[in-house]
Symmetry: C2
Subunit: 350 residues, 2 copies
């Protein structure tokens, strides 16, 4: 069984139309006709070989929504026609402490990524959501309960949504808490929406004065231009939690200084070169922490999707032509996207 897809044969080649294999659904499998797939920075880094270890052909995409077209005999939670999602993972060991606790993203054997992870299926590594169909183990498929009209805008919740929701929940963002969101992009715009919906007081940090109104519209109670020292100082020592979504290297001390005692600055962006080394004294005086967080577990991803359906939260998206994905990547690199590109996978070849 093959399906139409968009992918690259090598790091220095553009993405092109491909036909890729998909396995026949096994007893525990869910076969999904992909409706939409969000475009994540990780897609670009991987397909262009900017992180080591890309396997080719590479078909990116891990913000997948679609409809079930077949289920295996051991699948009871999904039926043909269901609206479903698949995020960054399609497998894990199921045995280690993290898997048993529903934190499959921290699987001690390494989670199986939706693309570029080893698999026994042809061609030997997983192929992602820039495609018309995917077959996924039932345990890594999520129910989508949003209205169908919102489906394209649900796709980015599967990575950008859960990547921000999980740390916001883990560090207790909610009523009575002051939460900062650094960077108003694909991740950050979701962080603002989610932190606001969770009931926190939300301050958005941006270097782009032009994003001020937009950040308020997303749900920010206040917006700080992080290049303005006076604006920054006005918030010194006042945050319970700051979620930093910016991948470009920047001075973390500027944000640890804004934390209360026992506050945490959580990084979810992966910088290509290191941030300037953070001040140890900036942590010692206030028992502060700098932490990291990786997407979220399957159960928490379902919780996030249901939370978003209840609160009518989706991503702000721009639909793009899958065959012009390289041009979209270039716009993404310039920050020219509000705030997530989404591919209409039904339009893929065929």
């Amino acid at each position: 069984m093959t399906t139409h897809a968009i992918g690259a044969h090598a790091a220095d080649q553009p993405l092109v139309a491909l036909d890729i294999p998909r396995r026949t659904p096994g007893p525990r499998d869910v076969q999904i006709e992909i409706a939409y797939c969000g475009v994540c920075h990780s897609d670009l880094h991987t397909v262009r070989g900017e992180w080591s270890g890309t396997l080719y052909p590479c078909v990116p995409g891990h913000e997948i929504v679609g409809h079930v077209s077949a289920v295996g005999g051991d699948v009871s939670g999904f039926k043909v026609g269901d609206t479903v999602g698949v995020g960054c993972m399609v497998g894990s060991c199921r045995q280690c402490a993290s898997c048993r606790e529903g934190l499959e993203q921290y699987c001690s054997s390494g989670m199986v990524g939706t693309y570029n992870s080893p698999t026994t299926d042809a061609p030997g590594h997983t192929l992602g959501g820039y495609s018309q169909r995917i077959v996924v183990d039932r345990d890594f498929v999520l129910h989508v309960r949003h209205p169908q009209a919102q489906l394209a805008a649900v796709a980015p919740l599967l990575c950008a949504g859960i990547t921000t929701y999980s740390p916001l929940r883990h560090w207790g963002a909610g009523p009575g808490k002051k939460v900062g969101i650094v960077g108003i992009g694909g991740l950050g715009h979701m962080g603002v929406k989610l932190a606001h919906a969770l009931g926190a007081q939300v301050v958005a940090f941006t270097t782009s004065e032009s994003k001020r109104e937009a950040a308020h519209a997303l749900g920010a109670d206040a917006v700080v231009n992080s290049r303005d020292l006076a604006q920054m100082r006005a918030h010194a020592g006042s945050f319970d939690f700051i979620l930093d979504t910016v991948a470009a290297p920047h001075v973390l001390d500027a944000y640890t200084a804004l934390l209360k005692r026992d506050g945490t600055l959580c990084l979810v962006g992966a910088p290509a070169s290191p941030h300037p080394s953070p001040s140890v004294m900036g942590l010692v005086f206030g028992r502060k922490a700098i932490a990291g967080s990786l997407i979220g577990g399957i159960a928490e991803t379902q919780e996030m999707l249901d939370f978003c359906a209840h609160h009518r939260i989706t991503a702000d998206i721009e639909m793009i032509d899958a065959h012009a994905i390289d041009a979209a990547y270039e716009r993404m690199l310039k920050g020219d996207v509000k705030y997530r590109f989404v591919i209409d996978c039904a339009m893929l070849g065929g």
Copy 2:
């Protein structure tokens, strides 16, 4: 009222005998005849002007033990003859959230340090424990319940002890937890003793193969030469908490790699130049954190002293002649101390 002391008139001058003023005890004051004072790296940094802002004359010393010689009319918790201690703080605002929670070290107005902090007393800044007498507000005096014969070895508990005890308690070191202590010096040797007494499985990290036996004797279940990659890798992903006492710049990624998911690397050493910038991915994969911690609050310092008295824990010390303090500093800089120098303050001048 004056008292004999040892201090410096300028950053580039040796420590010499001085007579310094002490205030007449007010209603809330406890007057203490100092028996012993421990020698902390902070003393050296401050008196030599290596941190900005040293006020001269500078009399260091914040690991103070002695006996009460007078109390003010409003003091009910202490009486003449009591054995007491004074640590790094002699005051704080008492009003802010941290003070109200017994975390005076994080006072939002800044704690009043035992030396080199502004005060209304002459000469306008606090003067520390390298002296024969000190007058301290009752709220910053601790009860010492160890036998008198151990008194000199109790002194370092007031800084080195609480600096390691507080983070060990805050991050839950105890039975069933695997705890690392990085560096076997003044702080680290206390960290090993305390983590062991708290019931944790303790691994000591040192670059000095010569400290292996000593670390076991202090209470370490295992000792790892941190320069040996194979030894380090054998502990990958296994620690609940690592307390890093090393002030010299070093690669923190070597330790974040040893943490379990949700583990914390806590820094209590103040490097003169930054550590290499830690890997963000090293934090993201495992939701790990790098944190800092500053001494401990007054209530927790009393808890630590009582815990140590109960478990017969003191510091390993070497008594030195106060008039040879500069020579002791040079030995300290070379790591030639097992593990804390203590001054016999009764021998000071007079």
